[in-house]
């Protein structure tokens, strides 16, 4: 099971890295489906996207916001994962064993 989980994580990371390397090689491609599908088809029918209310999509500001959001999300996920999967403390062990 451990090997299977590790293999799964490895495959996902490998998949992402392969995709990234291809993406980096061709900067013109890789638009999101919001642009290539949603906004494109909407525009054909006379609907265009507006700027967001809080426009963080300015220069490198969006990079910063995504970094902060991703970091907080990652820490929250890690913290809760540890609570769920961590071994019981010595006190808890003592309680259960009497």
């Amino acid at each position: 099971m451990k090997a299977l989980t590790a293999a799964g994580i490895f495959i996902v990371i490998l998949f992402m890295l392969c995709n990234l390397s291809i993406a980096i090689a061709d900067e013109e491609k890789w638009t999101g489906v919001d642009e290539s599908v949603v906004q494109k088809i909407a525009k054909e029918h006379g609907r265009e996207a507006h700027k967001p209310l809080i426009n963080t999509d300015q220069g490198d500001l969006l990079l910063f916001v995504f970094l902060v959001a991703g970091s907080i999300g990652g820490f929250v996920a890690g913290y809760n994962w540890k609570i769920l999967m961590g071994k019981p403390s010595k006190i808890e062990k003592g309680k259960t064993t009497g």
Partner: protein, 288 residues
Amino acid sequence: MAGRKEDEVNQGAILRAFLPWGFFYFKEKIIMKSKKPASNSNLNRLALLGVVLLLLPARNAYAMHISEGILPLNWCVLWFAAAAPFVAYGLYRLKKISSTDLSFKPLVGLMAAMVFIISCMPIPVPTAGTCSHPCGTGMSAILLGPPISILITAAALLIQALFLSHGGLSTWGANIVSMGVMGSFAGYGTFKSLRTLRVNMAVAGFFAGLFADWATYLGTSIMLAAGIKGADPFMPIFIKIVISFIPTQLPLGILEGAMTAGVVVLLAKRRPDLLIKMRVIKAGEAAI
């Protein structure tokens, strides 16, 4: 992401956010679990993972929810009205379960963080030459039930719309219905149906993730076609949108299926008590 040709989202930064989680996981596996000094090979693997994530180059990435201004106001109001009861019921369920069971909160926290990260993580799909993201709602619906899954999706979408220029406030209701409601119910329904037919948990988890992803984009297609069609017939536009989504979402759905199966099986192995409590599995099924 609204009104921009080059959406600059640092994919490396998002991936780096997984580092703390990876650290906790490997720390527990290597140091706490083994009760002996970590072997060189394990440390090497940990170091390799860290280096790979840290060295990922910053590059532009792209987001996928329905952007601000795409849908007309009347459709936005309709989707808000459709989403509101689900979100309210999710809030009610969360309060009710949390008041009686404190151990439920970490699972909600974990799933909320995962749905947030996963749904703003663009993945390039070489077969299509485009990027899109998984949703994570199949996974959260299996583990928490659809109402709470919808609630955490709504929270994730709100943060993304407010601060990440990802989706939109006017299209928040529509995005909740497509990703939260349709994704969660499709994933949950698939998982429960397959488990009733005694299908293996990993396979059931895989198809739950797959159909949750596809249902989300089916929902987006319906909303978009209905909102932009004007006087034109619905079906040709709907079919056009669905066909346009297929090259990207077909492989991405498979990835989401694998991810969902992995998390469900892992939790079933490590914390079967939690899954029994959440009625994901029965007591007799603890050993899969």
